[in-house]
């Protein structure tokens, strides 16, 4: 084995609970079928609080139907989703036997336990301090999902939660890759989660005019690259991957989905919410990911775009891809899976990395739905409506994830 190969990082397990399904097989098949996870919400928030958005990409399978009652009581929904995804990923990886000191966990949330935080505040105001539950702090802390994941599997090499808004899930996976390369761990359970479909954050996102207001057509609301896109659709859920050093996976004969070959990170230092219109930071992240993977633009066959369905953000990203890849962008098949899942915020980067891994493994790029009239300024070939085959041979795909605050994460996925 060469020196380079010895630090190769592979994906051996996948888990998710999303607006499309309660696990990876149902989520992936719904994505390939071009289904939407957005639906009208079953609540009175519009009448009660005047919230202008009445739909969201809510979780398909409620955690109450999956987890034992005590876990529901002592975990914020963001942790519940992470646990469901982590357990699936761990089983999918064949429940690897690994020394706890060689097992790491990196699970992020963009916003943290906001249901618990706000429920606790409601309880305090309505009923006083003695009614605030003692478990409130360990439930609301943003490292709660990774803490429970580390407890579940006995991960003692380190449990981390990197926070970078909507890039958090991808950044967590990037950090997991680094842990294995640095020799700190042989196996890392990593991913992202979010449970933010609560009236306060929805009101706040609506106030910033970033949400789609297409109340009469929830399934058609998330439409990246369509000329009539009017904002993102808030989603919820979690995705987790099991990363493993190639050596460790080979030694136990594990099934390998793909290699996580490159990590590219950058920060815009431009504006608190808007991406740098020149896309400098986005280009830098993708360039670094490709260099880290020892790949060039010629190898790139697929990009899972961050594409949230906002007017400005979607186009900035395709300009960045074109600017980096030049003519090589002509052979990129671009997918915007948020058209189906909505925007999982801190879970998005993990779910879209999972989709990118599946795409490389199955040689099938998932579709982008709701693109009726493609934006004429779209600069990269888009996979629309139905899945599209990816070429055989050695290929590289990129997942882009960007977050409020100017965080850019690009992960390069290569075939095993």
């Amino acid at each position: 084995m060469t020196a380079a190969a010895s630090r190769d990082v592979v994906v051996t397990g996948l888990g998710a609970t999303t607006p499309l399904g309660g696990d990876v097989p149902s989520t992936w098949s719904a994505a390939l079928a071009g289904e939407s996870g957005a639906r009208t919400m079953d609540n009175d928030w519009a009448e009660k609080y005047g919230i202008p958005v009445t739909f969201a990409a809510t979780i398909k399978v409620k955690p109450e139907d999956v987890l034992p009652r005590p876990e529901i009581k002592r975990m914020d929904p963001s942790t519940q989703y992470a646990m469901i995804a982590a357990r699936e990923a761990w089983q999918d990886a064949g429940a690897p036997e690994v020394d706890g000191e060689r097992l790491g966990a990196v699970v992020s949330s963009g916003i943290g336990g906001i249901w618990t935080t706000l429920d606790g505040w409601d309880t305090l105001r309505e009923r006083g301090a003695r009614r605030v539950l003692p478990m409130t702090v360990p439930m609301l802390m943003p490292n709660s999902p990774v803490a429970y994941v580390s407890l579940e599997f006995g991960a003692q090499a380190g449990a981390h939660s990197l926070v970078s808004a909507c890039a958090s899930g991808a950044e967590a996976i990037g950090y997991g890759i680094d842990m294995i390369r640095a020799g700190r761990a042989d196996v890392v359970v990593c991913g992202g989660t979010e449970a933010t479909i609560h009236p306060m954050p929805i009101a706040a996102f609506a106030a910033s005019r970033t949400l789609s207001l297409r109340n009469d057509d929830p399934a058609g609301a998330s439409r990246p690259y369509d000329v009539d896109r009017d904002g993102f659709v808030i989603g919820e859920g979690a995705a987790v991957v099991v990363l493993e050093s190639a050596e460790h996976a080979a030694a136990r004969n594990a099934r390998v989905y793909a290699r996580l070959a490159g990590v590219g990170l950058s920060s815009d230092a431009y504006h608190i919410t808007s991406p740098d219109p020149d896309g400098k930071g986005q280009v830098a992240a993708m360039r670094r990911a490709l260099a880290d993977a020892d790949a060039t633009g010629a190898d790139v066959v697929h990009v899972n775009a961050h594409a949230t369905s906002t007017k400005v953000g979607d186009l900035t990203e395709t300009r960045s891809i074109r600017s980096l890849l030049g003519a090589d962008a002509d052979h990129v098949q671009l997918s915007a899976t948020k058209s189906m899942t909505g925007h999982l915020l801190g879970g998005a980067g993990a779910l879209e990395t999972l989709f990118t891994v599946k795409a490389v493994h199955e040689r099938l790029a998932p579709p982008t739905i709701n693109v009726v009239n493609p934006d004429p300024e779209l600069q990269v070939p888009l996979v629309r409506d139905t899945p599209s085959a990816l070429p055989d041979g050695d290929v590289v795909a990129i997942n882009n994830s960007f977050g409020f605050g100017g965080h850019n994460v690009a992960l390069a996925v290569a075939n095993a």
Partner: protein, 82 residues
């Protein structure tokens, strides 16, 4: 209206079951919260909070450490109702 000791035991068992996942019939008077039911201090405080709510009593922090068994808690709550 005051609850009887058996009503308190039944209500407390529901709270403990909800918190721990144990069946309600495992929560009987002679069981120790820590040694038999494996309840840590945070869980105990959660149970106390719910019990105060359910039975309309106040269980001061200083008393909680004296409630070693389920029976101790039932007895305390019964007395505190007056």
């Amino acid at each position: 209206m005051a609850h009887t000791a058996s009503e308190i035991l039944e209500g407390l068992a529901e709270i403990v079951a909800e918190e721990t996942g144990l069946p309600t019939d495992a929560v009987v008077a002679e069981k120790s919260f820590t040694d038999d039911l494996d309840i840590d201090s945070l869980s105990m405080m959660t149970i106390v909070t719910h019990a105060e709510d359910k039975f309309g009593v106040r269980i001061p922090d200083d008393e909680v450490k004296n409630l070693a068994t389920v029976g101790d808690a039932v007895k305390y709550i019964e007395g505190a109702q007056a």
